[in-house]
Symmetry: C2
Subunit: 164 residues, 2 copies
């Protein structure tokens, strides 16, 4: 499909993020299951719930712009998830793996932070402050999820991984 | 290879980022070439130069930790670059494509921000403040490159893309 307008570009990226969130919805329970630290497991479980709401919010955006809610294969998130799988394969369960899981999840968070940041800016430019507001809510949740992981890494997991 | 220690994890991620930077070194001139806005072209050209220094800095880190400088295939950056290629294929040259190029480059920047953030934290935990300092320099450059792109997008490109 040709992308001729900012509207087209916005819709294409929205589909990319919709696909990415669906992939993460499937991946987060696996990360929770692999975690040794209870607070890390909780962070992944909480973010899994949050991701469900974020998908609903995206569906609301599709509705508001009157375009069908569908996903578009996102090679970036597939690559990030693939790297996460490698980390799980290469490390035994425990503190070192936990440190690796955090790193993988933060790569995913940053992908989303970049994408929602762009979508917010484009929505505003398109005069759709209502849509921008919805996307901004998710953007703030992704930033908070990223900071929570940093906090867990620096607060306990990295030190435990060093001692492992 | 089994990742048994935080040292192993650090070295594996260092190789991932080294590979990613090499891919971006090849990609940035293409983004510059596709750009219509002069300030965007300049931002890509400047970041290309910066990426060369960042690769040298990574080689310095490999030397400091006494491990061979080599890359490890990074599926994430390949996915991000692949999506950037799709944007170029789907949009005609001009303001809309410029907006898409910025979005792609910011996805790459955020990938690097996530990775260098993790590497810095791990280097500090490993007691290698000298290494952390080097990685932190690059982290700050990546953040600045990302902000510069935001500034160009919001300052001129998005508006031009809307009018296109």
């Amino acid at each position: 499909m040709k992308t001729k307008t900012l509207d087209d570009l916005f819709y294409a990226l929205l589909q990319d993020v919709y696909y990415a969130e669906k992939q993460l919805l499937k991946t987060l329970p696996k990360l929770a299951k692999e975690s040794t630290h209870a607070e890390l497991e909780r962070a992944f479980t909480d973010h899994h719930k949050e991701t469900k709401h974020q998908l609903e919010r995206l569906e609301e955006v599709f509705e508001k712009i009157d375009r069908p809610a569908k996903g578009k294969k996102c090679e970036a998130i597939l690559g990030i998830i693939e790297e996460g799988k490698e980390v799980i394969e290469e490390a035994d369960a425990g503190d070192v793996l936990d440190a690796g899981l955090i790193a993988s999840a933060q790569a995913a968070e940053h992908y989303e932070i970049a994408r929602y940041g762009t979508l917010c800016a484009w929505a505003k430019q398109l005069g759709r402050d209502d849509v921008a507001m919805l996307l901004h809510e998710t953007l703030e949740e992704e930033k908070a999820a990223d900071e929570r992981l940093t906090w867990i890494a620096k607060g306990s997991v990295n030190q435990a991984a060093l001692a492992a």
